[in-house]
Structure formats: C-alpha cells, structure tokens
C-alpha cells in the first residue's frame, strides 16, 4: 500500500490494466513518449511499448472513432481526450456511435471503451480547458459517466470502467490531481460504477457534490458545523447511472439539500438531481433544493474564474437559505 495522489492512482490503475490484460490499449494525444500532459500515462509507453500506449494524430473524432473499432474488434481501448473542452469534436462518435452500437445491433456488438478526460476549474488554464460538460453525456443513453473525487476512488472507478462492457466517460478533476495523497492499495480493486458514497454524516442538510466540489462541500460542512448546522455530504461519484436511492435516503432524513457542481447551472446535472429527488421525496422536503453551480456564461478567463466558481461562501449561503425556511 502506498500514498498516492489522484494522478498517481490513475497512472497506477492504467499500469495495472495494461499489465493484466493484453487487450488494453491506451491511445490519445501525447500519451506516449510524453506520458500525457498531466503525466497520467507516465512511463507506460516505455514499459508496454509503442503498440499499447499510442500517440495518435491530433483528431478527437479519430481517436474515439478508431477506439470504437478497436473495442468492437476485441480490444479494450482507454482513449484520452486531452481536455474535456475538446470533446465536442467527437460528440458524434460518442453519442451516435459508441453509446448506441449495443442498442443498434441489439446486443450483437458492444463497445467496451473508456474515455478519460481532465476537466474543471481553478487551475488557471487557457480558454476552453476548464469546462465541466458532464450533463451532455448524462443526457446520452448508453453512456456511463463517472467522476472520482479522491485517489482511492480514482483507481477503483477506473478499473471498474475498464472492466465495463459499455462505454464509460471517466472525468478527472484537474484541480484534484495533486491536491491530496491517500492510501491507495497496490492490488487490484474496483469501486462499483453506479454507487454514491456518504462521505460525512449529518442531520440537517444534504450536500450533493461530485469531483472538484466534494472537497468544497466538506469544507462548507465543517464550517456549518460551527454554527450548529449538521451537513451530510454525499459524493455522487457516478452521474450515469445515478444512485438515486442513496441520495433520496439522505434527503428523506435531512429534508433539505444543496447540489453543488462546477458546470453551468441551466440544464446541468444539478437540475436532474433536483427533479429526481422531487419525484422521490417531495413530501419530505422542508425547503426547495438549492443549486450552487457555475453561472450561465462561458467558462471565464483565469482572472475572473474564482468568483464564478462554486465556493465555500456560496455553499454556506445556500445552506443558510435552505435552513431559513
């Protein structure tokens, strides 16, 4: 067992998959010699060779489209989209192809494909490198969408994604790549896709967060505790399929909830969670569920991003609001 950052845990998961299954192949821009722009694939080409860790031409549709062919024909591709903002280039191959081939062929073919992609704010990237686009994929049947918030889950979820017989979008919050070290077992383990996790128990308000907003929610919970508000914090972890039972059980107990995500508010996954919880536990709700999200603008330049992003003060304000009622 070793202490690992999230990026190291991801690298380790990829190493594990490459070592144990000859069908696994990693492909993407700069994943080979360079080891990925964040070093997620550091050392893997040197160890497993040019044919298993492959630098592709600069073309996202090409990456995902060929990965589909690889997957269908017996490989287990793990494709990287260098930043999630570039995934628009391959929306057709993801949404019309990877997500539908099982359905289209009534199970005759399927696409065991993982698409990894870093995303998220707070790291002062150039334009179009920080957008949180999970909602687009949650709205696309046939896909699974997963987002770890800590090194342990990162490894376990990534191995579960590689095991999956269906396409998984694996979203990596850049801000958390090196934010925390944590015990990450050397051996293989998986964290099941489709399960949320209660990361802090509480009584009064449920905070629902995923990826980069989980640490924020925990901080806010800590601060709220000092004003005698007891927050339960749930790391949603898998956005598709959503673990609604875990979410609903908590909100049924607390009667209040705040959903926190970096993506823009309108038609974000927060809206779905509000709507689903409304359906499930309407009569337990003591106040309307609040959303703390990115604002409805394009992701802003570094000098203004902090005010735009969800933050502990914004979460505390939302907690205060749901408590007021």
């Amino acid at each position: 067992m070793a202490e690992r950052t999230m990026i190291a845990a991801i690298q380790h998961a990829l190493w594990t998959a490459l070592a144990e299954d000859p069908r696994v192949i990693i492909l993407g821009e700069d994943v080979g010699k360079n080891g990925g722009v964040f070093r997620a694939t550091e050392g893997l080409q040197a160890e497993f060779g040019e044919h298993r860790v492959v630098d592709t031409p600069l073309a996202e549709s090409g990456i995902v489209g060929t990965a589909i062919g690889l997957a269908v024909a017996g490989m287990r591709p793990v494709a990287e989209i260098q930043f999630l903002g570039f995934i628009y280039e391959t929306m057709d191959q993801i949404a019309s192809q990877a997500a539908r081939i099982r359905f289209r062929t009534q199970g005759r073919f399927h696409v065991p494909l993982v698409i990894r992609s870093p995303f998220g704010g707070g790291v002062r990237t150039p334009e179009l490198h920080s957008d949180s686009l999970e909602a687009l994929f949650v709205h696309t049947p046939g896909l699974q969408v997963v987002m770890p918030s800590n090194p342990y889950d990162a490894k376990g979820l990534l191995l579960a994604a590689i095991d999956s017989e269906d396409p998984v979008l694996f979203l990596e919050p850049m801000r958390l790549y090196r934010a925390q070290r944590m015990e990450v077992p050397d051996e293989r383990y998986t964290v099941p896709i489709g399960t949320a996790q209660v990361v802090r128990d509480g009584r009064d308000v449920t905070l629902l967060a995923w990826g980069p907003t989980v640490p924020l929610a925990l901080q806010a919970a800590e601060q709220a505790a000092s004003t005698d508000v007891s927050c339960e914090v749930i790391d949603v972890r898998t956005l598709a399929p959503l673990d609604l039972d875990t979410l609903a059980a908590s909100v049924q107990k607390t009667g209040r909830a705040v959903v926190i995500h970096e993506a823009v508010r309108t038609a974000g996954v927060g809206a779905e969670i509000v709507a689903s919880l409304n359906d499930a536990v309407f009569y337990s709700l003591l106040a309307p569920i609040q959303r703390v999200t990115g604002y409805d603008t394009p992701y802003p330049p570094p000098l203004v991003e902090d005010a735009w992003l969800p933050s502990v003060p914004r979460i505390l304000r939302a907690i205060a609001e749901v408590m007021e009622e």
Binding site: A59, A73, M75, D92, G107
Partner: protein
C-alpha cells in the same frame, strides 16, 4: 517556386467495355465466378424493385435503392473473405447480401424493425451506417485491432462520394496511413449526395487523388464494370492484408433510382445524363453481354432465373413480414449490459401503461 498541384488527367481502370468486350485480360478467378455474379446482380436488381414496391404499398418504410451500383458492390464484396470486417453504409444491401445477409433480414431495416441491427453471428459486419462517414473510423479501428492481434483479417469501409467531405473521412485515412493499417476505403462515387452533384461536393475531378494527401495508394475504377471492380478490390485487399497499408478506391458509378423513397430525383437530375447511365452503362447489361459472348448465358436462362428470383423474393418478403412485431418494452434491453435502476422503473412504467390501454 514549385507549386504542388494535380497535373493528372483522370484515368479509369476498365476491363469490361460497355459492349461486353474486354479492354484487357480479365483477372484470375473471374471466368469461374462471372455467371454467379450475374445471377446475383439480377437478384439484387429485382430485390431493389421489390423493396420499392413494398414501400409504395406501405409495407416498408424509407428505403434507399442501390440499382445501378450492383457491380460496384458485388465486385468489391466478392474480394473480401467471410471473416473480414465490413462497415457498410445504408446503401450497401447488395454487397451485404452477397456477403451473406439473408434478404429477409435485409428488408427488416426499412421495416423499421429493431431486429434488423442484429447482424448474423458468422459475419463481422455492421449494419449500414446512417451517419455519413462515421464508419470509416470504425473500419480503421477494427483494422488496427486485427493488426495488433496478429490476425490476417482486413477491414473494409463502404461509403459514397458525399462522405468524402466529412471530417471523419479525413481523420480515418490519416489514422490508417499513419499506423499503416489493413483497411480498404471503398467509395462508390454515384455522382450524387442526395441532390448535390459530385462536382459541387469537391473541386477535384477524382476522389482517388485524395489518396495523395495520406501517402497511400488510390485507384479509380469503372464502378459499373464488375471485373475491374473485383480486380481493384482484390489488389487493395491483398495490399492491405500483406501489410502494405490502406488503399482508397473510387468506383465511378451511378444511382439509377431516387436517393431514398422520400426523394424525387427529377428535381435535380439531367435526364440526358441519366439516360446515358441507365442504358449504355448499366452494369447488368454489360456483364450479360459478355456472358452471352462466352456462351454462358442466354434468353432462356434469363427467363428461368428471373422466375426463380421472384419466387425467392416472395418467400423473403413473407419471412420478413412474419417476423414477430417487437415488444416495445424491449427498447430497454440493449441500452447497457446491465439495466440500471432508472431503466428498470421506466420499463415497468411502459409495461403497465400498455397493460392498461
């Protein structure tokens, strides 16, 4: 300052002239297969007609006829092995049936039946792709898998002239050439993408010259000459299978019918040009003339075979129509390997609701 530009006059690989004589020696194997090919071409031509009739009678939905392109499709599929990967477009039913798809199954696509997509286990063939150009990347990826797994299979992608405009065409040919993959890109240049003539689709006089942008080989072949198509495809498949990398083939052909049953080609087609293709250049006539010259075919055989085809088509239609109607609740069954809870709930809802109505 040297300018890189295309100097070439377009060429066209032809073996079988329009009058049924040979422009050059036929490729090996052709003598043996020509009659079977002709029979299959007749079958396909009548299949196409049958499907159009069924559509007009409301027994099929939208249908995309391939008449005029039988030589291009059958000639190219004939050069593939049964275990090669095949990624066709929606207009490849002739080729797909030649490859082994049951005609009754082929009709299910236009029927709008979910079962249409379940391709026979023994074929490594996708259903016809709707998104123009997407399948070129799948073929490239499958070829890559074959190369990595040390299999000697090739992948073939089939598409139209319009597809060459898509970014996916470019990305597929680039990946295939960079990784030297065993894939053949077979373009049926049938002169139109719906209403848009190939002269507005691209500024180049040929599709084949686009191979130069990828440092691969391009071949331009008379797509209504089944000998030449087979010859070109055999060369390309062999080239790919033996590690020579991808090949781009342009088969110059013509769609005789509408784009689909929703289309009215009189709005955009020149009747004179159409007539020329419909008469002199018809791929069936041409092969029939050659067979007749060889004493391999005559009017009696034509009549007998036509009758036989019609029986088979009637039988296929019946089987198609007897395919049980799908259970709507089955829409939930093939979204994921394991059905997530929300889908289970929705399936229950749909089932309940139908129970009530």
């Amino acid at each position: 300052m040297e300018i890189y530009r295309w100097p070439g006059e377009p060429t066209l690989h032809q073996i079988l002239r329009e009058d049924g004589t040979l422009a050059r020696e036929e490729p090996p194997g052709v003598q043996d297969q020509a009659q079977a090919w002709y029979r299959f071409m007749v079958f396909c031509r009548r299949f196409d007609q049958k499907a159009l009739n069924l559509q007009r009678q409301g027994r099929l939905g939208t249908y995309a006829p391939f008449s005029g392109q039988e030589a291009a499709q059958i000639g190219s599929f004939a050069a593939l092995r049964r275990d090669d990967w095949v990624f066709p477009s929606y207009r490849e039913l002739a080729g797909m049936m030649y490859h082994g798809l049951d005609p009754a199954h082929a009709l299910l696509f236009s029927r709008g039946h979910p079962a249409a997509g379940y391709m026979p286990k023994e074929l490594a063939m996708f259903p016809g792709q709707i998104i123009i150009g997407a399948q070129l990347l799948h073929a490239t990826g499958a070829a890559w898998a074959c190369k990595l797994r040390g299999e000697d299979r090739v992948a073939a992608a089939f598409f139209g002239d319009g597809a060459t405009s898509q970014g996916d065409f470019h990305e597929a040919l680039n990946f295939a050439s960079v990784f030297q993959l065993p894939v053949v890109f077979f373009c049926q240049n049938n002169q139109y993408a719906i209403s848009v003539p190939v002269t507005r689709q691209m500024a180049t006089p040929t599709v084949a010259q686009k191979a130069i942008a990828y440092q691969i080989e391009g071949i331009r072949v008379d797509g209504n000459d089944i000998f030449a198509v087979y010859d070109a495809m055999r060369y390309a498949v062999e080239h790919a299978r033996s590690g020579g990398g991808p090949v781009l083939i342009e088969a110059v052909t013509y769609r005789l019918g509408p784009h689909t049953t929703s289309d009215d080609p009189t709005r955009y087609r020149d009747p004179e040009v159409h007539d020329a293709w419909a008469r002199a250049k018809d791929p069936l006539l041409r092969l029939r003339r050659w067979l007749e010259r060889q004493g391999l075919w005559d009017e009696d055989q034509e009549r007998a075979w036509t009758a036989e085809v019609d029986t088979r088509l009637a039988e296929a239609t019946e089987r198609m129509e007897q395919t049980p109607m799908p259970d709507p609740a089955s829409v939930f069954d093939h979204v994921y390997a394991q059905m997530p809870p929300a889908l289970r709930r929705q399936k229950q809802e749909l089932t309940d609701l139908r129970g009530r109505v």
